[in-house]
């Protein structure tokens, strides 16, 4: 009996953590094959942690409000890019440039987040696909602004930002004077590994904010809305408003995260930096063991480490195994999409299973009641 129980527990542990376990196995196989030195690997992972964790943490708030994985975080990324283009043209350098870009991104993010939240309120239960499509739609508006409005309507002065035709922004905007200014300030080297202390401090502050926020009245309201919207509404919570606030918060934080991400990269790919950011952040979160309705800070950290280890080693391991590095390149993109698909299928299967079990339980209870009445 005890053996049976422990076996059941082990199997349920495997089932609940299948994605992280799968990734641990991939990393265990790929790391020795890739031939990277431990110090190089750790350096790369630490850099990518500093670059990405802030962005991924912004996904936790909509999950708390039951809105699933917010593909709409791309809107925050677009807001950050608009802000950085302006800051770059105004020649504001270093940390002040980063702070100014974060502040400038706030109004754009709030506006886009409110729009997204309002639309998502009209599409309850289909938030993920709706936010994904909204991000495509907003990409069109973003391109309209960046390609045609920047120059003639929004003044852009510098030729290294503006296209030679006189309006529109270049494919790539250089952030050389902002490059890694956050990462390098207070950075320490431990055994050849550069640790961007200030960036990690900002991440730590956001983690503390999320922990604190969960305990606030608004945080509790979000959790209640996430568990059951009808019950929350009956309890007097303004469900629609709470959901909009969660999306706005997520979008604003995504804007900050994108500024941190781009200052680390040192340049903006004007028309593509934001396009895949949502997908990769969500994939990393899911790799960490999160699901559509449940995610924690621990999932974010584990996900970033595993997903990025795979990202670093896959091309080299692919090249060593098959002789063609493109296979490794495609492999990591394929895995990103696959992880999202598997997680969504598992979530839907689990939801249906729970529903069917509840139905069976109800049927059994009804049969027992009928039998008792007949007797």
């Amino acid at each position: 009996m005890k053996n049976n129980n422990s076996r059941k527990n082990f199997l349920s542990f495997l089932a609940n953590n299948s994605v992280p376990i799968l990734f641990i196995l991939i990393c265990v196989v790929c790391i020795p094959v890739s031939g990277f030195s431990p110090s190089y690997l750790i350096n790369e992972i630490v850099t990518r942690m500093g670059r990405n964790i802030f962005l991924i943490l912004c996904l936790l708030i909509p999950i708390m409000a039951g809105m699933g994985l917010n593909f709409g975080m791309t809107l925050g990324a677009m807001a950050a890019e608009l802000a950085l283009i302006l800051v770059s043209d105004w020649q504001i350098w270093g940390i002040p440039g980063v702070v100014l870009a974060m502040i400038l991104s706030i109004p754009f993010s709030i506006l886009l987040g409110m729009l997204c939240g309002k639309i998502l309120n009209m599409a309850k239960g289909r938030e993920m696909i709706t936010s994904y499509i909204i991000s495509f739609f907003m990409n069109g508006i973003y391109q309209l602004i960046v390609l045609y409005m920047m120059g003639p309507i929004i003044p852009i002065k510098h030729s290294n930002v503006k296209l030679p035709r006189g309006y529109g922004i270049r494919n790539s905007v250089d952030l050389i004077h902002m490059r890694q200014c956050l990462d390098n300030l207070l950075a320490v080297r431990v055994g050849g590994v550069k640790i961007p202390v200030l960036t990690f401090l900002l991440i730590g502050l956001l983690c503390l904010f999320i922990i604190w926020f969960r305990k606030t009245k608004l945080g509790q309201d979000m959790r209640a809305v996430g568990q059951d919207m009808d019950v929350a509404r009956d309890a007097g919570i303004n469900v629609e408003r709470t959901r909009i606030i969660s999306i706005v918060m997520s979008t604003v934080l995504a804007g900050f995260g994108m500024v941190i991400y781009l200052q680390n990269m040192g340049n903006i790919a004007t028309y593509s930096s934001h396009s895949q950011i949502g997908m990769f952040c969500i994939a990393a979160l899911l790799v960490g063991g999160a699901s559509v309705d449940r995610a924690s800070i621990g999932n974010v950290f584990l996900g970033v480490v595993l997903f990025h280890t795979m990202f670093i080693v896959a091309p080299k391991a692919g090249a060593m195994i098959t002789g063609d590095s493109m296979i490794g390149e495609y492999f990591r993109v394929f895995v990103s999409y696959a992880v999202i698909t598997i997680a969504l299928i598992m979530y839907e299967t689990k939801k249906r299973k729970v529903k069917s079990q509840a139905g069976k339980q109800l049927q059994l209870e009804q049969e027992q009641e009928e039998a008792a009445a007949n007797e």
């Binding site: 990405n52 105004w90 020649q91 504001i92 350098w93 270093g94 940390i95 002040p96 440039g97 702070v99 100014l100 502040i103 400038l104 706030i106 391109q143 390609l147 510098h158 030729s159 296209l163 030679p164 035709r165 006189g166 529109g168 270049r170 494919n171 004077h177 990269m265 790919a269 004007t270 028309y271 593509s272 930096s273 396009s275 895949q276 950011i277 990769f280 990202f311 390149e329 495609y330 990591r332 993109v333 990103s336």
Partner: protein, 158 residues
């Protein structure tokens, strides 16, 4: 919390953000300072360039300029401080002094003529805006994004 109090807090938060943004715009304004060690003609007089000027900015040597040479340094903010080690003639004595120059906010690139600056001439004589002589690329050479560039990439940078 009353609506009035809530509104006041929001207005204060917005004002604080605007204030911080304004401060960032002032303290973070970047300039490239070009230092010219070139003989200057001004008001009918000639100000000869010293044999060698060694320029140190924030403890780092950024240029060693002989006559007719130009060096540059990046500066954030409107106050530019430089330490100059000047040798007037070959094998002569070197004198070291620290100077502070106020940079105009509107200029991205600022050219400072050192002989004019040393002579204590008015600002218009030794300070000018840097204008690039390299012609801007024409629209044909430009990198107007094509439809292909909007396609999804493999996310190499991520």
């Amino acid at each position: 919390m009353s609506n009035k109090r809530s509104l006041m807090i929001r207005i204060c938060a917005v004002l604080a953000l605007i204030l911080i943004a304004a401060c960032m715009m002032v303290i973070g304004r970047g300039h490239t300072v070009y230092l010219d060690n070139k003989t200057l003609e001004y008001g009918g007089q000639t100000y000869t360039a010293p044999y060698k000027v060694t320029v140190t900015v924030k403890g780092e040597q950024v240029a060693k300029l002989y006559a007719k040479e130009r060096g540059s340094a990046d500066n954030v903010g409107q106050r530019f401080e430089m330490t100059l080690k000047v040798m007037q003639e070959k094998n002569g004595d070197e004198t070291t002094a620290t100077y502070q120059v106020k940079l105009p906010y509107k200029m991205d690139g600022v050219v400072i003529n050192l002989p004019g600056y040393f002579a204590g001439l008015p600002e218009e004589a030794w300070l000018s805006e840097f204008v690039s002589l390299i012609p801007e690329p024409s629209a044909e050479d430009g990198e107007v994004p094509s439809a292909d560039e909007f396609e999804m990439d493999l996310g190499d940078e991520f």
